[in-house]
Symmetry: C2
Subunit: 255 residues, 2 copies
């Protein structure tokens, strides 16, 4: 039984190492992750150049392979060429930062990797640690790893809940399993405040904090995390089409 | 009345010029597009460096602004800093290549720009020309421009159909308004075949063709385009959460 593990912070992230240690209790973990940090690249893939695959190690010395592309590149090359068997599960993370609200969910390389695998029918879990700009706390990462391990164990045993393709976990700072609150959530669709600021020479994203996300209901990922709850978001990977009401549009084209 | 126009093939694309010419019949068109080609970057944004904005021109000489980032960067910087007024509409394209199936829709910079604006409540249209690897045909681009113009005119007059955030148009090669078939479609969720091939030094995406997409029903974007129909896909921008059936998962975490 193989679990494929990737992330978007790159092969040297302490979040990746924490995820690997936690998942190794469940089976063989194959780590195939981006060579360098590729945050905010969504499900994007690389065109126009060859992608190298190099033997590497995680921060704590476990064997791994690194791809000099995006998280989705890493997943696809792992599935097509690097793994001997189709993995039972894809885990992505632990991301050093939250992934909440639809803006983030569509920008996030952590989620992008999960979407890439889920498109191919592989149960996928994205794990994010809402550390909000500061350095990661070792104990928080261990706790987030334990949450990831329990969700992975559940999915390996019971399968994904019906209609769910990706489970996105956001673990708040200072979270303690057994005492901190947990929430099943949906993705907030309130737009994130713009992270761009005017700088010398143009515009840049200087910092990132929970203040960017307008407060939303407790049943949303944003609302849960802002209130200090662990957020578990079961995602169905589809963009609904609303064809009803569009007949007039078709007529305007046929006129 | 301002229309914001962007793309993912970059400021020098003939598709961008064709879109601008067509939309200029409807009102003021502000062009803010990536400085260089940024295909397959989805809704990703750029972190870690400043983004320059430079005065530029489209291929046919119209004034424009170019951002050395992704399509979503261009949209956000346009909305926050470059436009005097909130645009009535965002148009993205005309992309030199199809954007069909959920894999592509989540990878596409053309769609990514439309999602970025739609998140902020701006009616958004993505236009793609399914030219399938060859050079663009001037007449096809003109026809695609006319389709885009008619859809934009409809949306400006009638508003977006209820529950629709983005309209994605895929125009097949050789399409003729008035004689070629048209279809209202949903997004195919069948996974694209892997575009990566083994090359000297690693893996690369060497070519792209409609063969990558497994045939699907005529009511899908893939099925319509593969059968030579124009595909109009009305998209609701949300990833549905399926919380029902996940209570057991929560219990496993609380144990």
């Amino acid at each position: 039984m193989t679990i494929l593990l990737t992330n978007d912070d790159g092969i040297d992230s302490p979040g990746l190492a924490a995820a690997r240690r936690a998942l190794a209790q469940l089976g063989e973990v194959k780590v195939v992750a981006p060579l360098s940090a590729r945050s905010c690249t969504g499900k994007s893939i690389t065109i126009g150049r060859a992608l190298r695959v190099v033997e590497a190690r995680t921060l704590d010395g476990a064997p791994a392979q690194a791809v000099d592309g995006t998280p989705a590149d890493a997943v696809m090359i792992a599935l097509n060429a690097l793994l001997k068997r189709r993995p039972r599960l894809l885990a992505s993370g632990i991301n050093l930062g939250s992934n909440i609200g639809l803006d983030d969910v569509l920008d996030s390389g952590t989620l992008g990797a999960a979407f890439e695998a889920a498109m191919r029918g592989i149960p996928s879990i994205a794990a994010s640690y809402c550390m909000d700009g500061r350095e990661p706390v070792e104990e928080d990462l261990r706790e987030a790893g334990e949450v990831l391990r329990r969700v992975a164990e559940f999915v390996l045993k019971e399968g994904m809940p019906k209609g769910v393709d990706v489970i996105s976990i956001n673990v708040p700072q200072g979270f303690k399993l057994g005492s901190s609150p947990l929430r099943l959530t949906r993705i907030s669709t309130k737009p994130r405040r713009s992270p761009y600021v005017r700088v010398e020479g143009g515009y840049a994203i200087k910092s990132w904090s929970l203040d960017l996300y307008p407060m939303d209901g407790e049943d949303t990922d944003v609302g849960a995390v802002k209130r200090g709850s662990l957020s578990i978001t079961p995602i169905s990977l589809k963009l609904p089409a609303r064809r009803r009401g569009c007949e007039e549009l078709l007529k305007a084209l046929q006129a």
